[in-house]
Symmetry: C2
Subunit: 412 residues, 2 copies
């Protein structure tokens, strides 16, 4: 990897060779992959991309920490659609809004970008087995991408994990261990097992390559916008890996000469679980919080990538906004009704934050905003029902229908 | 539309002008859109496609019955991934198998292709409201595509419709009428309402443009295969519109000079509901059947597009294979485990049929087969659980994990 120089600890600055099976620094800090941008500038241009026929995250290989001869992963991850959401923007009183629908990835979430990267690095490390602990999208994306690549996956989930997500894991043929304990217990058992059997580690914030996969969401949206940098990029935030990855993408593009300014990040958390936003708002170190929100994918009271996430928000002169569960459900309805995009609760939280930030006067209505939809609403049908309610019931006769419409004020 | 000549009844041969709001023939027969292939040959080439940057179903406009100035639909429908499924082929004892994953469409099924077409034709007809009756993917795809285009949608569902699918409809802001009666009652009420209010009609097999949208799945897979025609194309079959549309795509490409032979269709139905395959197998006219299968999307005892579907299977010298519910669930596990593709029951039925046809010696193991995955497994999580089972439960200690692995013969 001529374009990668090393991996550097974000806490103590120690540098490590960028071997495929990196984990954290000896000091406990998270590592960050470092690039030789002069090399990249000399070998990677917008014209190269315009000529590239690979419409997946792997079109950005010259900016990704993978060996030139490493095969891409089989599932088509990335190049998710970017929709200009004019009707939604009008309803919010915003000049221009784009929705980047990452729920259109193979296992229906942005996490496929990280898992596809993990699969490539596992192969480079010579591993045939890969493991993680997670209750949600990270697990299902790992199981799917590993199956497609012919790798074995061991997934550790707390026994309270929703049945639907477990079903996805089981269909993908992963060995799923349901741990009778808390999430912390689950994480510790996965760690012990990974240490014992030497599986490749795809735990969030432990493996520094994951956020390099996630940054492709930024590379894509900038290419789709013709390299015109938006004023704000809105993201829901849980453990912090995704917003950190998105920011890394902007910094890479800037350093490589593809863009000439940077956007501000809009970090959106749930009111019931916002340890990172609280740190931004108070200027104090982050402290753990209860996990009191229906948006399960961002219900992270102890964020594992706080260092990178807080640095990203601060460097971008970002804005932190918290939204209530009701505001999340309202955003789900709004995005569905105006744009035909169905996101899971965490997937619509970024847009709920855009609405809230406009109401609070934190964002200029003349701004251009990109909101990233991180997961598909079909992942969590129960909350879809909670958001959207029940249909009217009528007897199978036209007079009954006329009556039902009249009672509801519906005038076809 | 210089390339469209008329719409012709498949039963009596009557011809109609191809106006946007066509329904069925006066004789009750289904209409089929007719093209001027000489015009198309003169104006549409493989080179045009190679230069086309629109990676959606609308890249095939010169073969679609839409006005040149009609805007495309906003959601990114089509250009779903085609995966070469080598591990799955090896397990089945087949030389070459491809999976076309149409569960990757915006509302997670192939039906988006028909609904996007319906939205374009509704706009051409000057309609601002579009309606259909359906319990499943047709309804949710219409609701999503209509919302994205700013059209109103009225959806009629029987009150037994699964909550999850209703939730999708409600999130997309459709007016959903839950009819206290059978599916037939629901259809009749939708018909009465469409007649009364003049809504644009998206009922399957009534509107002849829908299968023209569906045929884009064939146009795509042929382009993705470099115009190398496979020996067989496997599809699950319910009301018959999808297999008829897929076949229309092959005939169009043949007539337009893009391909020089035609594949054989593999029509796959559930043993518990196979009226069309029974007609093929016995040579007798089709007769209604009970709807006794867990694959709800193809549980169609009275297929509404029998004429076109039977003609397609026969013209292609096709093969009809029925599979049991257990074989459908086995195909779901097999596709998930070997290729990381999670299909709903009807979405994996085509592949279940490929397996069955090989076992019965109906397909040459040296053949090249494309199997179309018509819908995403997240649409029907309950059957995913039924297919894949429950994970092992362990206490949060390594000795407990070792014990659990040993008892199951798992050797990491």
């Amino acid at each position: 990897m001529k374009h990668v120089t090393c991996a550097k600890c974000v806490r103590c600055g120690a540098e490590y060779e960028a071997v495929p099976d990196l984990t954290t620094c000896k000091c406990g800090g998270i590592l960050d992959i470092q690039y030789d941008y002069a090399y990249i500038r000399a070998h990677f241009t917008k014209a190269d991309l315009a000529a590239c026929q690979d419409y997946s995250m792997w079109r950005y290989r010259p900016l990704l920490p993978v060996e030139p001869d490493s095969p891409s992963t089989p599932l088509r991850v990335g190049w998710s659609p970017l929709y200009q959401a004019d009707r939604l923007a009008a309803e919010l009183g915003l000049k221009r809004l784009y929705l980047k629908d990452d729920g259109q990835n193979p296992t229906a979430s942005l996490k496929d970008r990280a898992s596809a990267m993990a699969v490539v690095k596992a192969r480079e490390a010579g591993a045939d087995t890969i493991a993680c602990s997670s209750t949600g999208n990270a697990a299902s994306s790992l199981a799917g991408n590993a199956a497609a690549a012919g790798l074995s996956a061991y997934i550790f989930v707390p026994s309270r994990a929703p049945k639907g997500k477990v079903a996805q894991l089981m269909v993908f043929g992963a060995t799923v261990v349901s741990v009778e304990g808390s999430y912390e217990d689950t994480f510790e058992l996965s760690k012990a097992a990974i240490d014992r059997w030497g599986w490749y580690n795809r735990n969030a914030a432990i493996n520094p390559y994951l956020s390099e996969g996630k940054k492709t969401v930024t590379l894509e949206l900038m290419e789709q916008l013709g390299w015109q940098v938006p004023d704000y990029v809105a993201l829901s935030v849980g453990d912090g890996c995704t917003i950190a990855g998105a920011w890394k993408g902007f910094k890479d593009l800037y350093a490589a000469g593809f863009i000439h300014r940077l956007p501000r990040l809009l970090s959106v958390q749930a009111e019931g679980c916002c340890p990172l936003n609280r740190a931004i708002q108070t200027g104090e170190p982050w402290r753990p919080m209860e996990e009191n929100t229906l948006a399960d994918s961002i219900a992270v009271g102890v964020p594992r990538n706080a260092d990178k996430a807080l640095a990203a928000i601060r460097e971008s002169q970002g804005i932190a906004v918290n939204v209530s569960d009701e505001e999340i459900l309202e955003a789900m309805r709004l995005m569905g009704r105006t744009q035909g995009v169905f996101g899971e609760p965490a997937g619509v939280t970024g847009t709920a934050g855009v609405k809230k930030a406009l109401e609070l006067g934190l964002i200029d209505p003349d701004a251009t905003v990109v909101s990233i939809v991180t997961g598909n609403g079909l992942k969590d049908v129960a909350n879809g029902i909670r958001a959207a309610g029940e249909p009217m019931r009528v007897a199978p006769e036209l007079p009954a229908l006329l009556d039902a419409f009249a009672r509801r004020g519906i005038e076809p």
